[in-house]
């Protein structure tokens, strides 16, 4: 298998790509359904059922991308998996308990006796909040090289807040797409508020990462990189401006462009993701371990890659089927 040159070089890169793709898909997909949970405090009780109905058929498959991402880290870069997860022991535990609360609240809130529903709604919110905040905190610490100092923890707190607002923003755009009437109008207002969080979060990460890492500074602010990379921040700013304009005009009379904020939000997530990926390449544990040093044996990676290449298109195909079956405005979910 020397088809593409030395497999010890391209296999780790291919797996880093797959892992990155899984994280990106996870952040967008679970981002919107976590976001819907985060918006619970702003919604009337009657609206909560529709909000959950808009994510009900999808959340489980969305979370599977997290298992996929962590699984790829586990199997392709086992030493990095150990180093990252032991460093993030407590935030991971908080996230896991959050995911547990959230996942079971989906089911319990509808099946438990009516007087208990409020408690499960609260569990859904708290679970979504724990998950989003801890993921944001982990992102911040990762950017800061997995070190615990006062400064890195403060930065982690800022990214925790930033990611939580970003999730609620994309959750609001999802609701604009999937609902109508008063709830849709509210969702537009929520999305407008969320934009500021995005500006703040993106700004903080963009400003802080080059400052803490001379390597990242060099990667972005040397010639000719600075000109080649300029489209990234420019496109992000343009998207934010477009979103602002669009949200002021939504919802339209015939519900046209209801998809637009969600598409823009997704594009923003993608741009931010590529910015981060560019900053960290080739490190998988920042400043400590490159993806080439951390990779598993090539023959084991090859076995997984063959399976992945065959199966991933199939996964995408039936994910599209699921989204097609439940397309359109969210209606009450029923078992019959």
């Amino acid at each position: 298998m020397e088809l593409f040159g030395d497999p010890a070089v391209w296999l780790p890169l291919a797996f880093a790509g797959l892992m990155g793709l899984s994280i990106l898909i996870y952040v967008v997909l679970d981002g919107f359904d976590l976001g819907v949970g985060l918006l619970f405090p702003f919604a009337e009780d009657a609206e909560k059922d529709r909000m959950v109905a808009s994510i009900g058929p999808f959340w489980d498959a969305n979370e599977t991308w997290l298992v996929m991402a962590i699984g790829l880290l586990l199997v392709a870069f086992p030493t990095a998996h150990g180093a990252i997860l032991t460093a993030l022991y407590l935030p991971v535990a908080v996230m896991l308990i959050g995911l547990i609360l959230r996942g079971v609240a989906f089911e319990f809130r509808a099946k438990a006796p009516l007087p208990h529903k409020g408690k499960w709604n609260a569990a859904f919110l708290v679970g979504s909040l724990m998950t989003s905040l801890s993921q944001g905190f982990m992102l911040g610490l990762y950017i800061m090289g997995l070190q615990y100092t006062l400064a890195t923890v403060i930065f982690g707190a800022i990214t925790a807040l930033g990611l939580t607002i970003a999730y609620s923003f994309i959750g609001a755009t999802w609701l604009i797409l999937k609902t109508d009437g008063a709830l849709q109008k509210n969702a537009v207002e929520w999305a407008k508020g969320g934009i500021w969080g995005i500006v703040l979060g993106l700004g903080a990460v963009s400003a802080a990462s080059p400052l803490v890492s001379p390597r990242i500074w060099d990667k972005w602010f040397s010639v000719p990189e600075i000109f080649l990379l300029a489209p990234l921040p420019i496109m992000s700013l343009a998207l934010i401006a477009l979103l602002w304009v669009a949200l002021r005009r939504l919802p339209t009379r015939d519900d046209s462009f209801a998809w637009f904020p969600f598409a823009c939000g997704t594009a923003l997530f993608v741009l931010a993701f590529f910015g981060l990926a560019y900053s960290f390449y080739p490190y998988v544990v920042p400043e400590q371990l490159t993806l080439y040093e951390a990779a598993s044996a090539p023959e084991s990676l090859m076995i997984i890659l063959i399976g992945a290449v065959i199966v991933i298109p199939v996964i995408i195909a039936y994910s599209i089927l699921a989204y097609t079956v439940f397309r359109g405005k969210a209606t009450e979910l029923r078992y019959d």
Partner: protein, 463 residues
């Protein structure tokens, strides 16, 4: 307590909580497919009512299984980094194939199975039900391949302290895999049989004696009666396989200290590792020799063979393995007695009316007996593998993460609190759903409590 024992308790607690729910969903998926196919074939509404009731139990169990499973995939890294660093080349691909082939399949079609009934054609809904059942079973296959490999590793070589795969067929079809997988799938079937029989008996006792409950009560009892003898036979084969590959575990299960012939089958004993002997032994003479070697003077390995010259103990802790094994076998025998007598009584009287109240209460009491037997069985085999994590390759102590014990203790406490609350909520909601169904109120959908008349919708066979 140190980090090692706390981490072991934490992983043990997580995996114990997790396994409860796949144990239900693996077999319940197939049972739901059976209900759907019976409905398609007969057009009898009772099968669709049974489907609608049990699909809610499935949805709830599935969600519990998913979220507790995510926890475990992270804990490999947070608590046991040494595991993947040493055997990642083998465990990695197996876990990856589980995610790729099974998790996405289940997750994508679950939505259609739960909420797609009126949105997609009947054949697609039936297919979705099939694919979810198939996905859960496939997931069980991959994870049991990995687990079995940890007990009976094969098809690999060690290079610089890291395992490298040499023969994937030997890894997948490692010596204990066929036995362990079959034993677990049957355990899932029995768990579901007694769960269905138990909750149907509960509804019957509440006065719900309609066609649906009648059908599911009979179904559960028959399923239990049919599977339990197969399971006992399979368990025996699995035990013989363990004797061949992990004699120390069998010695602990039998509470046998010295390698000798004519070993009794102990019904009761308090194994004492200090004196290396049993107190208060009650046994059937020659029993263990007969079961394990099929002859009264068969030689059974003893625990003392697994103590090194320097006094290092290389066998598992005896009392937990000894007792878990007895709890599992005892539960199995209770299942045998209840299901066979119930089937006999129902056949004589042509239906559940033939069951005395005591039997109905028996089924209610045994509704979660599958959980007890499954957990006891897993404790037997997993504690029985100690001190090894991968038998003969690496010990559990070598894999543990270097995190402060206080951190492990605090998260353990948090997990335990959440799990205890969720188990109570789960059992409570199942009982609540049964009570609602018994009152004929219909069962609420995920979104809104449903009007009673809406539960019965005219459906055509094959829809």
């Amino acid at each position: 307590m140190d980090t090692l024992i706390l981490s072991r308790i934490q992983f043990g607690a997580n995996i114990s909580f997790h396994i409860l729910f796949p144990t239900i969903t693996i077999a319940l998926g197939w049972v739901l497919l059976f209900f759907k196919l019976r409905f398609n074939a007969t057009g009898d509404e009772k099968w669709m009512q049974a489907y609608r009731f049990w699909v809610k139990v499935f949805a709830l169990s599935f969600a519990m299984g998913v979220v507790s499973g995510i926890t475990m995939s992270f804990q490999f890294g947070t608590n046991w980094p040494g595991f993947m660093e040493t055997v990642g080349n083998i465990a990695g691909p197996l876990l990856a194939y589980e995610v790729l082939t099974a998790f996405f399949l289940e997750a994508a079609f679950l939505g259609i199975m739960l909420f797609g009934f009126s949105r997609v054609p009947g054949w697609l809904h039936t297919t979705a039900t099939f694919l979810v059942a198939f996905g859960t079973t496939l997931s069980a296959f991959w994870i049991l391949v990995l687990n079995s490999w940890m007990h009976t590793p094969a098809g690999f070589e060690m290079r610089d302290g890291v395992a490298h795969a040499t023969d994937w067929m030997a890894i997948i079809f490692n010596p204990s895999m066929p036995y362990r997988l079959t034993h677990m799938l049957l355990a899932s079937g029995l768990t579901v049989a007694f769960l269905i029989a138990g909750f149907s008996a509960l509804r019957w006792l509440m006065g719900d004696k309609g066609a649906e409950v009648r059908a599911t009560l009979r179904f559960g009892a028959w399923m239990g009666a049919a599977l339990i003898p197969v399971q006992i036979f399979m368990g025996d084969l699995h035990g013989l396989n363990t004797l061949e590959h992990q004699p120390a575990k069998v010695a602990a299960m039998e509470g046998n200290w010295e390698t000798r012939s004519n070993v009794p089958l102990l019904l009761f004993a308090l194994p004492d590792e200090e004196t290396r002997s049993n107190n208060f032994e009650v046994g059937i003479p020659n029993g263990a020799s007969l079961i394990l070697k099929h002859s009264a003077d068969g030689v059974v390995p003893g625990l003392n063979d697994f103590v090194l010259e320097d006094g290092t103990v290389k066998h598992p802790p005896v009392a937990p393995v000894f007792w878990s094994f007895r709890v599992m076998v005892g539960t199995g025998l209770a299942m045998l007695a209840l299901s066979w007598s119930a089937v006999f009584l129902m056949r004589r009287q042509r239906g559940p009316e033939g069951l005395p109240k005591l039997w109905l209460y028996g089924f209610v009491g045994m509704a979660f007996s599958g959980w007890i037997a499954t957990l006891a069985g897993w404790y037997t085999t997993e504690i029985g593998r100690q001190p090894w994590l991968v038998n003969g390759v690496m010990t559990t102590a070598q894999a543990v993460a270097d995190v402060p014990a206080g951190m492990v203790a605090s998260t353990l406490f948090a997990y335990l609190a959440v799990y205890a609350a969720l188990i109570v909520a789960y059992m409570g909601v199942l009982t609540y759903l049964a009570r609602k169904a018994a009152r004929g109120e219909g069962v609420p959908t995920r979104e809104a409590p449903l009007a009673p008349e809406a539960t019965v919708r005219a459906l055509q066979p094959g829809e």
